[in-house]
């Protein structure tokens, strides 16, 4: 019952000729061609130009060292435990004369990593940080399993402005903090 017949407007001769609209369209594309269309040069020339990454950017997870050049990781395996895609595998080793352990093997399989950042959050030693590195490539699967050395290497690129890895050694920091608070003993 209730339908409406919409009458189409009669086209004028110029509209039926089609050519004026073609010329109008061509004028528009020409405007873009000469760069007056507005967005010319919006393309980023990638390998030469790169993104300004925000401070919260999560790239490849990396291991950091303290001021004395010792790895901060104590191989507690919390990150391995929390890692959702199980990208991290750690084999701990004990160090002579020191209470804490260190990783014998610390591998992150970058083919599995989902850059969630849980490892950074869970780490009690502030030893693992998400870096700004995002150009990950390799020719084999093995090449994309990042070993301890590589992870420390990437961690060394982190500046104070990046993830702010705490360079102060853990025990020294603890002692300082306790001294400031006037606490004695351990």
């Amino acid at each position: 019952m209730a339908y409406v017949t919409v009458r189409r407007r009669e086209l004028t001769f110029a509209e039926r000729l089609y050519l004026p609209s073609i010329l109008k369209g061509m004028a528009h594309t020409l405007k873009h061609f000469v760069g007056a269309g507005g967005r010319a040069g919006v393309t980023m020339q990638y390998p030469e130009e790169k993104w300004q990454l925000p401070s919260f950017y999560r790239g490849v997870p990396s291991l950091v060292k303290d001021a004395d050049g010792r790895g901060k990781c104590v191989a507690c395996s919390l990150c391995e435990y929390v890692c959702p895609p199980r990208a991290i595998s750690i084999v701990p080793k004990s160090i002579e004369g020191v209470v804490e352990k260190a990783p014998e093997v610390f591998d992150i399989d970058m083919l599995r990593c989902i850059f969630c950042g849980y490892c950074e959050e869970v780490c009690p030693e502030e030893a693992i940080f998400m870096s700004k590195e995002y150009e990950i490539c390799g020719e084999t699967r093995e090449e994309l399993v990042f070993h301890k050395e590589r992870l420390y290497e990437i961690g060394a690129t982190l500046g104070a402005d990046a993830g702010v890895p705490d360079a102060e050694r853990k025990w020294a920091k603890l002692a300082r903090e306790q001294g400031e608070q006037g606490v004695t003993g351990g």
Binding site: I22, M26, H28
Partner: protein
């Protein structure tokens, strides 16, 4: 010129066999045409590679992108990189095709446009084949181009190529008529089929009742001024002839995969590509010759050539004045042609594709009657003014 006695005489007189062979060749009537064939025959593929680059960069700019800008300055050598890729790709010939026709089709795509360019005058003396039936010969050869599309579609023995091939055949035959009729009106005005005459006719000012009007009329002497409707019809039909947007029915990637060249790969595909662009050059060159005054520029080219001739060195075995004149004329010609080719690219990235029935209606019910009416009008005009 009888080459052998000259060769012998030269050998005796100055001893150097190579020099005399050289001299004999330069003086023979074969030297100049051979040189032309070498130059023009290589310029066209180079122009095609330039066009592919221009198409990609042009489309990119129109769409606010950058396009290929990595290989060479401004990405100019992109086409050569692509060519290298095409050469080293595996040349797949599917098992279900008609092998002879399948291999023949890409060759037919390239050869007719290249041959057709032999009939086009690039300058007063820069012309490979100055035949009296110029435009007819040109059309006769260039319309063979349709066979490549038809055979390519047929020989591929699969449905999308066949549909593309059938569409292309229907389209090219339909628009060929409008193209021919609008060109006919030009020939009527020029009074000759020879393309050189058509060009010269557009450079000598208006002639009414046997009287030549003043020098001002030279600036209005291009056929695009005298034949505006014919020029528009020719241009539109030319777009359809070369299967360019908005008439790219035969390929129509969103409907037919890639149309007639769906089954082609590597260099065979590249040849279709080359043929399409060469056909574009042919249509642009013909439009320039028929409507934009060919290699002339309101008589200014003669003024320039005279100035050069007066300051040219004495004629040795190379006639420098003639060389400069030839370069000047073909420079003017190619500038016009390139401007037109830019319009081809420009239109492609502006307009959407026609529907098939719209295409046929435009060809048979609009362009053909229009061109016939314009032909009749031209006939009356020529009858009154001559």
């Amino acid at each position: 010129m009888n080459a052998l006695p000259v060769l012998l005489a030269e050998t005796v007189s100055d001893g150097g066999v190579w020099a005399s062979v050289n001299r004999t060749f330069v003086e023979s009537r074969w030297a100049y045409p051979l040189l032309l064939v070498l130059v023009v025959g290589n310029v066209v593929p180079l122009l095609v590679s330039f066009l592919v680059w221009a198409e990609r960069r042009g489309s990119a700019l129109i769409q606010d992108r950058l396009g290929p800008n990595r290989v060479g300055p401004f990405g100019l050598f992109q086409s050569f990189a692509d060519l290298g890729k095409f050469l080293f790709k595996e040349d797949v010939t599917p098992g279900h095709v008609n092998k002879v026709l399948y291999c023949l089709a890409p060759a037919i795509a390239v050869i007719p446009p290249l041959v057709a360019l032999a009939f086009v005058p690039y300058g007063r003396n820069v012309m490979m084949a100055d035949v009296d039936t110029g435009i007819l010969a040109c059309f006769a050869v260039s319309s063979l181009h349709v066979y490549s599309v038809t055979l390519g579609g047929w020989a591929s023995n699969s449905k999308f190529p066949l549909l593309g091939g059938v569409r292309a055949t229907a389209q090219m035959i339909s628009y060929e008529i409008a193209l021919g009729v609008s060109a006919l009106a030009v020939l009527m005005v020029a009074g000759s089929l020879r393309l050189q005459d058509v060009v010269l006719h557009q450079a000598d000012g208006w002639t009414v009742h046997g009287e030549t009007l003043g020098a001002w009329s030279r600036f209005l002497d291009w056929n695009v001024v005298k034949q505006p409707i014919g020029a528009i019809v020719f241009l539109i039909a030319g777009f359809a002839e070369t299967n360019r947007h908005p008439f790219d029915m035969p390929e129509a990637e969103s409907e037919l995969a890639a149309g007639y060249h769906t089954e082609y790969s590597s260099m065979k595909f590249a040849l279709f590509f080359l043929g399409e662009y060469a056909a574009m050059i042919v249509v642009s060159a013909l439009f320039t010759t028929l409507y934009l005054g060919g290699w002339t520029l309101f008589g200014l080219e003669d003024v320039l050539a005279d100035w050069v001739r007066s300051s040219a060195p004495e004629a040795g075995w190379i006639n420098w004045a003639q060389v400069v004149e030839g370069v000047l004329h073909s420079g003017i010609f190619f500038t016009k042609t390139l401007a037109l080719l830019f319009v081809f690219i420009w239109v492609r990235w502006t307009l959407p594709r026609f529907r098939y029935d719209q295409l046929m209606r435009l060809g048979w019910m609009r362009l053909l009657p229009l061109s016939l009416a314009w032909l009749a009008l031209t006939a009356v005009g020529v009858g009154i003014l001559r």
